[in-house]
Symmetry: C2
Subunit: 699 residues, 2 copies
């Protein structure tokens, strides 16, 4: 029964994680929609309803239009005099509500849960690589992060809630681990649950369970991913997706969030514009990473870091002021992306779909492929200009937004930039085809009278490319995009764009934005993806270097006093235990922490033990003793890994990465010569890659 | 340029692997269809066309019906006298052609490429875990395997070509590696390509690129799967899928092979029958593994192994004789599965869809969900009996088929068993609903007048469950099923069934069929999935045990003669090099192979070297010498990994698994005490899991 309970508890936790994450995501989605609409107006009769729900009972079918139940702020305050004053008043309320939401969120984060800020992915990567950041995954963080996420997204800041959802799901996982002693006490087991939680987070963020596992595998966990974890992650991700689809926050009953309904083939010649999109994505990614890291560095090293709330407020107000003027930035970013991914059909009356149709074409939903290419109307051109402005706004504002002290993901803003660019390029290609259908590649590939170029697809590919450029994700990104849009047949274009984007981006900046922030914050993270050529061997990275001699503890002849003295004189993290200081033959390893703790404890609690007491690291003690001896056999780690002086750095690195060990002893001809810790490894990597070794933090 | 060529060569190879695999798969598919139809008749005007292509030009629209261009064997030989004689003659030709194909395939495999037999997956797993099976991936194997695969599938044997396609793709990968020195010489790099090739193989086998990566990750590579490999695998898998879809062997222009078109929700109560399917799958898997391994063991240890061709012929003839009598086994297994996955609509006149419709319901393809549940006609019942017989036939015959000396995969036969069972259960549920719509769970979930239970879905879930039971795949299976059928919304039912199946199966048999065959053949494979609790430590598994003393080579004082003598007296695989035999302080490690090779070479080619020549393992040689000395510094591995006597077996196992090392030296107090090789590890695992340690082969 115990063993089956053991096996079940894992499944129980991962299903719990899935269900909880799904619930959190659903609540956050609903809350966000409500708060977002709050900037425009309110439902006076039932204030807890958002615009869509408020207008549901109304007779008007489209939710985009206003309905009498829903009142804008100017209607509520009776400002009806002129359209200018209505505009000014609504503008004012829009900025005001944004300001309040941003301010409140920043204060909550600062005072209640400072760890709730940022996307959380760099930290989770670090935690999963084996380090402990205390209370980073606590229940307060969960609560505050969920709450403030709704606020900041509603405040119209250029950020997404997708990255933070991974953090939220991880918090759920951590909380559930506390209920089971097996998982509470075992860090390795807990990490298994956390990787499942990361998968669940992505699953609810994008409705992408398979993408979730791959994300967890590619981006978060990086190296060590046992298969059992994969299966559990999948289960967790799926549970989360199901719960979310039952809550149904997007109101379409599907998991697929930005569903694309065009069922068209893409043409081989289109790979060229797709590669252009990839290049754009790579360049944008490099630009974004470079400037965001630069600005984050500035924030860290200037007076700015003392005013986190003020910074949030300034960014919020500036974003709101600028966003209101452009319809594409005024609406929330998710809707913008959904809109840009869609194809135009004749029922679509938005400016972006203002095509000139002289009435000859009759709409038929079953006949999409035969929809002819039409010339763009004047409003399309205007929309493209607005889209270009929106793109620039998002691109610049996000640099200053990602890193301020509120929850902030960057999937959605990154995608928005690419979606805008892609749509512009797509419309350009489409009109090129309309005006020059005889250009040779159009002539080869397109059928006259049918749509040949689909601007929505370009938008989708562009979004994938920019996201790829920023995060440097690969397989998981392609799978997420495909699950996000349901467009299985567009895997190839997306893949080409993502690949190009990664290659172009890597030429300018190594690693993605998360790696950049890990490095910036000096988290001790061994990146498994970095492929640096190291030529050093163990003798060059071990401590101590010549002429310093390794401090060891002899097997015999120690007293409590001598050990205390040794620890004071040589404040290292641990000491090899050797047979004698002449032979330096290794017996085991003792950490400073254990030794200090045991000596202090013995001195305090046992009055027979004095500084003169002999210390033995074995069971065999001479018969008579005064003062009574101290036995410390159990603090000796008898199984340290050993390498030789000539072992290459790559091998040592693999030992640390793969076996999760914390130290390796260096032996030469049977003598202990030195030791290598994770710190030495990180320092060497930093030195080899031209980073400042001093910047690395150690926990 | 060199470094960019370096990076490009990897991409070049993986795209090459993808393209080649796609081509091979396409050719094999086309060849198989043609040969399969050859059992029934021929296209006299253009004999190289299969039935479908032959009838294409005909006016008849459905390919199922005969057309005048296509002649059955009885028509060709003019046997028209009575239906009994037609039947008998066609039966005879069917069995004869099967016999010829089977015989030819068996002879080709025996004489030209013995390695072409089986599915190849166990061997590829072993190769990827770091062992070399010479010429297992050669071009002859590729050629013969491709050719015989078409024959044996066409011969109607109960086997599939999906597993062998993985082997074929790996052969392509291996061949392309030979073109690039970087990959030819480096086993680790080559393994990266081979894992990409495995992904490409699954991708073409099932039209499932994402499933391919996950399969490669979960089933083939198991442990060490760098991210770069994942990205390349994906690319390779995608290229393969695209090439295959251009060749378009299924004629539907899609990658999706068993496309399901029903767009229906499943109901929560259906999880119970799905779990029943899972239990069935688990039981079938356990049954199959047990008896297949038992029979394979019998084959290995009896006279049977001397008559591989006769065995193939007997199995082929028996299968053909039995299969012809049942329409569901007469058609090829892939078509059977496709047929069972489909839902019935009114245009479907097959016996399985013989529902009683009194003419009130008018067909409308857009209105599938409103299709009412109809009572089953008499032919449905008969079909179910035939399906049950087909299931039993497949289940029994496959036990004797998998393991005979021809290419044989078992994905398709395993799926067929589950699909039959699932369909039977599905029809039973459907009719239960028709006759008792008031049963409480039906009443809760179903809408009257609409289809509530979908037998095709049950078939799909059943197929996944049996395949899961046999192979013990998890995530990759779910993803493959979803890519195979395009039914994203049925991930949850499939997942539940696969999970149940795995749990039930694991209660009876540990590991999947591939692990069983690896163990049976004694391949040295460290399974990363086995979670056995080991309590041993390094001292208990190292060689030599007390009182035998480790044979070492001293740093000084060796002559060619003394070393030759040592090798003769102590024929071990390698010898630790120590400072002196008293101190046993380790310097390095010398393998027997290197030492022998160098000594023999020196004696043969250099006349100054005699058995009296001193051997030095350093650069420093005393000034004068007679006879001239031999310097062997470069054969000393200066960087062996070292553990202590107390190191736990788990840690040692991790070192072998993760670092891919071949030996670990055991040190105690600075002295070399013994060494552990992969052999010792495997022997210990075998002993701990009640296997015969002697059965393990070593390469």
């Amino acid at each position: 029964i115990v063993s089956s309970h053991d096996a079940w508890s894992g499944w129980l936790i991962v299903s719990g994680v899935g269900i909880l994450s799904g619930l959190c995501a659903g609540l956050i989605d609903i809350g966000t929609e409500w708060m977002t609409d709050l900037r425009l107006g309110v439902c006076p009769q039932r204030f807890w309803l958002n615009k869509k729900a408020c207008c549901w009972s109304s007779n008007l079918t489209t939710a985009d239009n206003d309905c009498p139940e829903w009142l804008s702020w100017s209607q509520i305050f009776g400002i009806m005099s002129s359209s200018a004053s209505i505009f000014a008043f609504e503008y004012f309320v829009y900025v005001l509500v944004s300001f309040l939401l941003g301010f409140l969120a920043a204060v909550l984060v600062r005072d209640l849960a400072p760890y709730a800020c940022g996307s959380g992915i760099p930290e989770i990567k670090t935690i999963l690589s084996g380090f402990v950041i205390r209370s980073y995954l606590g229940k307060w963080v969960l609560l505050i992060k969920s709450l403030t996420m709704m606020m900041v997204v509603s405040a119209g800041l250029s950020l997404g809630k997708e990255g933070p959802l991974v953090h939220v799901a991880s918090c759920c996982g951590n909380m559930l681990c506390r209920l089971f002693p097996k998982y509470r006490q075992n860090e390795v087991k807990k990490r298994e649950i956390l990787s499942a939680a990361a998968a669940a987070g992505v699953s609810v963020a994008f409705g992408a369970p398979i993408g979730g596992i791959l994300f967890s595998l590619e981006e978060v966990v990086s190296y060590y991913f046992p298969l059992k974890t994969m299966w559990r992650s999948f289960f967790s991700a799926l549970m989360a997706a199901i719960v979310l689809s039952y809550i149904n926050p997007y109101g379409n009953g599907h998991l697929v969030r930005f569903e694309v309904s065009y069922d068209m083939v893409w043409h081989l010649f289109e790979l060229i514009p797709f590669i252009v999109l990839g290049i754009f994505g790579g360049l944008y990614g490099a630009f974004f990473i470079k400037f965001n890291i630069m600005w984050s560095n500035f924030r860290k090293n200037s007076a700015l870091k003392r005013f986190p709330v003020a910074e949030v407020v300034v960014v919020t107000v500036v974003t709101a002021l600028l966003s209101y003027l452009n319809p594409y930035t005024k609406e929330n970013t998710s809707s913008l992306i959904r809109h840009l991914f869609q194809q135009c059909d004749q029922s679509d009356s938005t400016p972006l779909c203002n095509y000139i149709n002289n009435g000859t074409y009759v709409i038929n939903t079953n006949d999409r492929a035969n929809f002819p290419t039409l010339p763009a109307g004047p409003q399309v051109l205007r929309s493209l200009w607005l889209l270009a402005l929106a793109m620039l706004l998002k691109a610049f504002v996000t640099i200053f937004t990602f890193g301020i002290k509120i929850p902030a993901g960057l999937f959605i803003p990154s995608m928005a930039v690419g979606a805008c660019f892609g749509r512009i390029l797509g419309v350009a290609m489409e009109q090129w085809y309309y005006y020059n259908p005889d250009t040779f590649f159009f002539k080869l590939a397109c059928h006259p009278g049918r749509v040949c170029v689909q601007p929505g697809l370009y938008s989708m590919v562009g979004a994938a490319a920019t996201l790829g450029g920023v995060t440097k994700m690969t397989v998981s990104l392609v799978v997420i995009m495909f699950e996000l849009t349901g467009g299985l047949q567009y895997i190839v274009p997306i893949m080409f764009a993502v690949m190009t984007s990664k290659w172009v981006g890597d030429a300018f900046v190594e690693g993605g934005i998360y790696d950049g922030h890990i490095r910036l914050n000096g988290y001790p993270f061994l990146d498994s993806k970095e492929e640096v050529k190291f030529t050093a061997n163990a003798s060059e990275i071990m401590q101590p270097r010549k002429p310093t001699i390794l401090v060891t503890i002899n097997y015999n002849g120690n007293t409590v006093g001598s050990l205390l003295e040794l620890m004071q004189e040589c404040p290292y993290q641990g000491y090899p235990l050797v047979y004698s200081s002449e032979s330096q033959q290794l017996i085991g390893f003792i950490t400073r922490k254990d030794l200090k703790h045991r000596l202090d404890f013995a001195l305090e609690t046992n009055s027979n033990i004095t500084v003169e007491s002999k210390v033995y690291f074995s069971d065999k003690i001479p018969a008579q003793h005064d003062p009574s001896p101290l036995l410390l056999k159990e603090i000796v780690d008898l199984t340290p890994l050993q390498v030789t002086l000539e072992t290459s750095f790559d091998t040592v690195l693999d030992i640390f990465r793969m076996l999760g060990t914390r130290k390796v002893l260096v032996i030469h001809k049977g003598r202990v010569m030195g030791l290598i810790t994770k710190k030495d490894i990180l320092r060497h990597i930093a030195a080899s890659t031209d980073q400042d070794p001093g910047a690395i933090q150690f926990h």
